[in-house]
Subunit: 340 residues, 3 copies
């Protein structure tokens, strides 16, 4: 593992130093568990007491908190981002072995860029293009005619189906499926007929997709995940969706077909969004929320039910079935009282 | 890619022609993006204006709309199904290379039918049977004693566990897991004991299962997905469920153990259905709905909460905890007014 | 398949016998489908009539029901646990072939214990440790520096990312992803910066994880699943969660980052729990419930909406948006009546 002094970190990350600039750091840690050879960070006064008692060798902090800390500090305008960069420097992820592993199966007409790593057992289909410096993890499958631009990182056991496109620096975690068929069915009187899904799934630059998430290919047009969008684990993006730039989607979200979500949105975990909707830019959907209509104004939207003790819930929930009747009873009382 | 004239399509699909029957088509497209060499389709008057301005070389349309269109048209009673068939003809999916890939690991006592394709790295267990013309995609695993009938298509990275059965023409998308153990636990006073799951998972003819969906094997009896049922992505079907003929289940649905769902049902995305229920034929469960009791009459059932601005939700949701009290207050008002 | 007499089962499981102790049994079955060569079980009087008419060769039953049954019976204090043990004896799961399959890719510096089985195409990373008697299924990937203690069973196509730790007897079903990156992002003004996830995922002894479930590695500290916890399919456990001893979590549950769940809890299917919460020991969360605040007392908690016919729902749900107004109307009526 690399070792850096605080001064070396400053040379890379900028900011100002406080305390011993020769403090040597070899990894990052939480305030609670950091050791003197480790770097911690602090973004708000909420954790100041914990930071003060931390054994971290140094901290990355905002200017407003630096004076209250006795440890060597690197003061940055955006400590969270700075800490992320420091962590990437100090604890780089394990890299695939250079080159194409002898057990990988690469089609003769696939186009493999410079400095590509392809892991054990990976399968690269006919006419697929793997851009320079891409890493394709063990047991991943890139379908025929799929294309990866530069510097993509596909962890183990990822599938990119035929004809799908990944931009630069796309990260796919294990189990991700890009470009499986959308759920297209035509009723034939006595059963369902499969509707071929001839569109692609396109992930633009800097998209990251979490473990076991599925992004279906388009039915005719494409499914598109725009630049910088980040998706967590176990998410379903159905055919023909468009997810806007820098939108972040937490785990267990489902988005049904043809829905378009704007840029800079945040979709909370387990939110469910039905098909053919438009959600505008800068919308926050709370965790556990069900969205069944367009959202045309930025803001925070919610629908989750509050938690209750089960005994209370039994009484309360029963009334939900009769809410319409209750409203009528109140209205009738109001009318009676008006007459009186 | 194949090229067909409109007349050739009519010879296959039936229907009547309008306009230049020699129009040559090499692919399908949406009304918005179709080019003169592409086939589009229209099912309702809702998209008539878009169809009229489409650059599609030809359209598949219902009789009621044909007169309003200037493009060459194939008029069909079921345009959606006809378009699906045309798409399959014009844009066939990439096929696996014929035969058994040299990197596949096939047990010596597995039974492999005629014209089977087995992709790179796939693993076929002892005494498994792979029927004629099946395609088993790259890195898929067919467990010992599992059986696939004719013409199944298993995309890459599918698992069919030991002893499970697939009928004819079953399609499994990447990441599907058929026949993992159900969640069977016996409490032992100080911890859980695993209950062996000795049943199978059985998928009858023409079942299709979407990416990363799981269908558990039965605990003692079997889990059964009946003929023609269609399942989307990231669905959980627990042990001993039975899903009826031609029922369609959208993504992110969970169905708990031993629940039986009838034929011709439609289960909306992210619906959650608890265990040991019976849902009769021809039931529609809306997206996001929670089902905790039997459904004995066909119809549409719903439980989702409506979306609100978060500020409104805070006020409204708080009252849900006190709905029982509110109902009592209304009752007490009603009684007071009766007395008056 | 092994064949055991009822007397042999008693010698292993204890309990008392009733009827022919030489009854020969070769498998287990449900009461409804059991044949004379099969063992069934009964835990409650609810299924007594079915048990009496069952063709099972013998039954495992509690003492309270034995007198009512004519079949040979093994009477046990915990019939469900006894039946689980009998099933494991009579119908052992198919085992991997002994040794390391020639198509597996094992790093030269990996440490492989005695009697380990590694299936076709599996990949074992640098410095990984695989303890004695572990089975690593076909096409599974164990990352660099990951460690499996003794007797783990990893089914096919499992991923354990670098540095993660499994205790003894851990079972992972197909498609499981242990130790993918948590969803850590820092906002940089114009987009998201990935925050490296440097913690581990740690699964203690006797943990079982269902198909396609994801357990993320920690951001800085670790994600921990404590001894004996059981997780069903398609569950998401985010970074830095801690799941307590012997807690059972049903399918489709999502638990957001840093939430701690106590010991002996039961989390129903599709429950969703937001981040940074504490849930105490011995809590039951009902299926479909959304948890957005700490739970400090044991008990059963629920928030699910009741199912309605869609027409009723339309009327009732509309009022939920105006519940606050309704409560005010009732209050105003109450005040009017007080004055009168």
């Amino acid at each position: 593992m690399p070792v850096l002094t605080l001064a070396e970190l400053q040379a890379i990350l900028g900011g100002t130093l406080q305390g011993d600039e020769q403090t040597r750091l070899d990894s990052v840690a939480s305030l609670a568990h950091a050791q003197p050879h480790q770097l911690g960070f602090l973004v708000s006064a909420k954790h100041l007491a914990q930071a003060r008692s931390s054994h971290a060798g140094a901290l990355i902090v905002p200017e407003s908190l630096a004076a209250d800390l006795h440890q060597p500090c690197l003061v940055l305008a955006n400590p969270h981002a700075g800490f992320a960069k420091a962590a990437a420097l100090l604890q780089p992820e394990p890299q695939l072995q250079a080159g194409i592993h002898p057990t990988a199966v690469v089609a003769a007409d696939a186009v493999i860029g410079a400095d590509v790593c392809i892991g054990p057992g990976a399968v690269i289909g006919s006419k697929a293009k793997i851009g320079p410096r891409c890493q394709v993890g063990a047991l991943s499958v890139i379908g025929p005619n799929a294309e990866l631009d530069e510097d993509c990182l596909l962890h183990t056991r990822v599938v990119v189906q035929h004809g799908c496109l990944l931009g630069k620096r796309v990260i796919l975690h294990p189990g991700v499926v890009i470009g499986a068929d959308g759920f297209g069915l035509a009723w034939q009187g006595d059963g369902w007929l499969k509707v071929p899904q001839t569109g692609r799934a396109i992930l633009e630059d800097d998209v990251e997709v979490g473990a076991n998430t599925c992004i279906d290919r388009g039915a005719l047009d494409n499914t598109v995940i725009e630049t910088g969008a980040k998706l967590d684990n176990l998410i379903q993006i159905a055919h023909n969706c468009r997810i806007g730039r820098h939108t972040a989607i937490a785990a267990c979200v489902g988005i049904a077909g043809s829905t378009q979500i704007g840029a800079y949105c945040q979709i909370g975990g387990a939110a469910m969004i039905i098909g053919h909707l438009h959600i505008c830019d800068r919308v926050t959907v709370s965790a556990g929320t069900f969205v069944a209509k367009d959202i045309r104004e930025p803001g925070v939207y919610t629908s989750a039910q509050p938690l209750m003790k089960h005994e209370d819930w039994k009484h309360n929930a029963a009334h939900l079935r009769h809410l319409d009747a209750l409203v009528k009873r109140v209205k009738s009382l109001e009318e009676k009282l008006k007459k009186d």
